[in-house]
Symmetry: C2
């Protein structure tokens, strides 16, 4: 055995030892383990528009019977397993967008917000950190467009001190969503639990902003090339968008599905957070049929980062096929 081989074997044995211990002390390594993921942003162009996706993080929690309301948990576990995911846990991914359309910088949805960073020990609320890594200052954002009023979309309007993260931006909200959540009658009739919590959270967020928002109507362009499309069901005023520039189009689906391995593969499944499960399923079927037919690019808020994909028919539902990562834009 050469000196070199012996040294390698000894090092190998050390590695095997190290493998049994976690965490490994950095002093053993030529270079310490980084322990940190790469910055979570990704860029691409839609015509002349520069899109930046930035992840707000991902959350893993135990799968329960009540997660999918209309399928046995065994079926849900089987779907997760078929997608090479842990069968007893659910993972939610979150990815807001920035559109640089030239004259304006537009954010679509905001993640959980900087306060969540602390509450979740960095698991969620990463959006503004990833914007910083991408060189984007929230102070330069002209417009924030909200797709619907769930905490992972609106809480990021506020920082940890309940101040606006986007002090120079106009906040645009779906008119249908605004009317519903700001209606005191609707609030008083809302079931206890999750729905009342949502009402309270939405009042908290928009009251902190002095309710200074501009409601937008479906099927009327927000700015040139950005068209809000009604995709109600997940919530009363849930909105998707078609971004058009030159010959290119992108369907920004918002929450037409949550995790594609469950709700694209099984579009008839409804999650407990779908406000009107029947409408959510119908919308999903209709939109995904359109995406298959047109082969339009789709950006999914809850697709795994970066969340840019095509949709194709597969068995009882649809397969979401991620676009290859391009090292240059």
């Amino acid at each position: 055995m050469s000196e070199l081989d012996r040294r390698s074997m000894l090092k190998g044995a050390a590695a095997a030892g190290a493998a049994a211990l976690a965490p490994v002390s950095a002093s053993q390594a030529a270079a310490p383990r980084a322990g940190q993921q790469a910055p979570g942003f990704y860029r691409y162009r839609v015509g002349a528009v520069e899109v930046t996706v930035a992840t707000d993080g991902a959350r893993s929690f135990p799968l329960t019977e009540s997660y999918v309301v209309n399928a046995p948990i065994e079926e849900v576990r089987k779907a997760l397993q078929q997608a090479y995911l842990p069968p007893n846990r659910m993972i939610h991914h979150y990815a807001p967008l920035v559109l640089n359309i030239g004259p304006q910088l537009i954010v679509i949805d905001t993640g959980f917000g900087p306060a969540a960073l602390k509450e979740t020990r960095g698991e969620l609320g990463q959006f503004t950190n990833n914007l910083a890594a991408a060189g984007i200052d929230p102070k330069n954002v002209d417009i924030v467009v909200i797709s619907h009023f769930h905490p992972d979309h609106v809480n990021g309007l506020l920082d940890a001190e309940n101040k606006s993260v986007y002090p120079n931006a106009e906040i645009l909200v779906p008119a249908e969503e605004w009317s519903f959540w700001m209606d005191d009658g609707e609030m008083s009739r809302a079931p206890k639990g999750r729905m009342q919590e949502l009402f309270a959270n939405n009042r908290r967020v928009f009251d902190a902003l002095g309710r200074k928002v501009r409601p937008y109507e479906w099927n009327k362009e927000i700015v040139s090339g950005l068209m809000p499309i009604p995709t109600a069901g997940h919530s009363i005023g849930h909105t998707s968008f078609i971004l058009s520039s030159g010959m290119s189009q992108l369907f920004i689906q918002s929450d037409v599905t949550n995790h594609p391995d469950l709700f694209a593969r099984h579009p008839d499944w409804a999650a407990f957070f779908d406000q009107d499960p029947t409408a959510a399923v119908n919308t999903r079927r209709e939109i995904y049929e359109m995406l298959v037919t047109t082969r339009m690019l789709v950006q999914g808020f809850h697709y795994p980062f970066p969340g840019l994909a095509h949709v194709e028919a597969a068995e009882e539902g649809y397969r979401v096929v991620p676009m290859p990562w391009s090292p240059r834009i």
Copy 2:
């Protein structure tokens, strides 16, 4: 029409005008377009090993009749189209790896090298830049393992001045590959054109390093947990690896397939760069059957970045299913 609407419309018109021009002047925008992709590295753990994938870039070139040697170009175009890729161009992706096993920092394959950055205007040769973004200094690398002797795997051993990029690393090469490419008889018998160019390139690279390499044998661990597996065909000594740590395993396939949308979906297709097409096809079938059966994670050098995936049976071949990006490791 409100002042706000008018301003939006005017801005919108400016955007539409801008869309016709490329590039858009930064002065129009609240924030200039970045025009730059995010750093191309990604981290994950295999047991106690921290893996960093870093892209060397991607190259796009016209698809020709001679690219797939045993299928009509119409079939190849159809496969590209089905994968939502341009039907008349081929895109090659390149992704070397770094393994931090604790006591040692190991690079597997090296990309085209810093010289290619200039030659290709940044398209290729990005590996060391992405390592820098990941905080990894090539001077701290202890071992470089080469899977086979093609330029996208070995040229990155040298910098633009033909000096070693990894001055403190031992260079490990497959014994079979070393014997073949360093054999003067083999070189003299090699067909003119690509094969002779490969011989010349390999001599150039390894001569610049004083031929200071250590040949490794198949099926004998390189270091504890890193096992080289014979997967000949693509080249005479082409090597894959199984990385094992604790209960976790990763199959590092090297070039068992190039682009998965062609050669995983159609494993019987051979590319012009497969040295022994029959052996390459047999190896591919055998390895992919194993990956389907074991559901082992696979890292593909030529998969789109980050290139971590599972393999499942699909029609006449296999579908490569990318693992979801995890915002934390």
